[in-house]
């Protein structure tokens, strides 16, 4: 991926009582574009709130581990 682009995770919810859930990702050079892109790509539901966060700013508190179950 080009160095000037970042991956952003997109979270949204439909109702006040719902938690924000992960709905997808976008790549963008800045936060304004990430938000505008997210809004036009993940428009399948009438979300009441949508947020984007740069993946590089997320840290794992619990890391997904391979399960042998």
């Amino acid at each position: 991926m080009r160095r000037d682009l970042k991956i952003y995770d997109v979270f949204a919810r439909q109702r006040r009582k719902d938690p924000l859930m992960h709905v997808g990702t976008v790549t963008a050079p800045n936060a304004d574009l990430a938000a505008a892109y997210a809004r036009s790509i993940y428009n399948e539901e009438p979300w009441i709130e949508m947020r984007v966060v740069a993946r590089q700013d997320e840290i794992a508190a619990i890391e997904l581990e391979e399960s042998f179950a």
Binding site: R2, D4, I7, G24, T25, S40, Y42, E44, E66, S67
Partner: protein, 316 residues
Amino acid sequence: MPTLTDEALKQKIAAGYLIERPEEMTERYKKALIQILLVQADTELMSAPAYYMAACKAPSINTRLSAYAIIQDELGHAHIAFRLLEDLGMDKEYLVYGRKPHEFKNPYGFDQPLESWVELIVANAFFDRAGIVLLGDPFKHTSYGPWKRALAKVDKEETFHLRHGEVWMKRLCQAGGKIKEEVQRAVDWMFPMGAEWFGLPDHMKRHSDQLEYRLKGYTNDQLRQQWLSAVVPLCESCGVRVPAHFDPEKQQYVLDYPIPVEYDPEKKRWLFDKPISWDQAFERWKRRGPYNEHYVKMIQREYQKFMGLLNGYGQA
């Protein structure tokens, strides 16, 4: 982490395990996944310029709007597939803007010009139905978690495209006369295009990694059957002829011509009396249809120029 063998992976998948990250895959699994995702991505991407071409002939602001909504959805689906490929280590920018036209893996149907509103409608009814059938399969069966989740959105939106196609097809056919004849002409070239979409029949197909890794669950013939069982009754209810019917003995839909047959893309005409081998059909696909270059250019036109502008003073 212990090295994962293909056999062990297959066992886990058979037990219902969902793969979430590249580290959990074998090379072979990854390769098969990339292959199937790339076909999806390219198909969605190249449907957009084809639909756009027809959208410019939309007969009102309302209809143009619905055509644009469909184009937006298709590009959105392509984006999702390319994003998934990016997470598997592929370069999304190169895949969209760097490849040569003939390197795109979309079906032959989206190498064809869609020249009227009627052709857009029939494409919605036939090609989007093919898309729903093909993607409904991994949505239900796939062992790759991120893909399965992403397909929820895709499935929802394709249902609208289909409804758009089917409602409009009925409306156009009810109008009768010249308009219905136009629908018939579109159906005549697009129906066999759709039937061919699903590829080699099962009895000719070698083993498939895509099935064994449960990237998908249905065979080509099963998928083609699903498509026929939606499309043939639609056409019958519209009073439009299609070269296929339901065979009560076999309890399935059968084609009235030997598939595959030769196609004349200039005249948009199938030569039903000229059967060809599947190898010859694949040859035709590889040579690409008449609008392959045009459509790819519609997507890529500005990118190089723009990167030049950005990079003019060494900006990466």
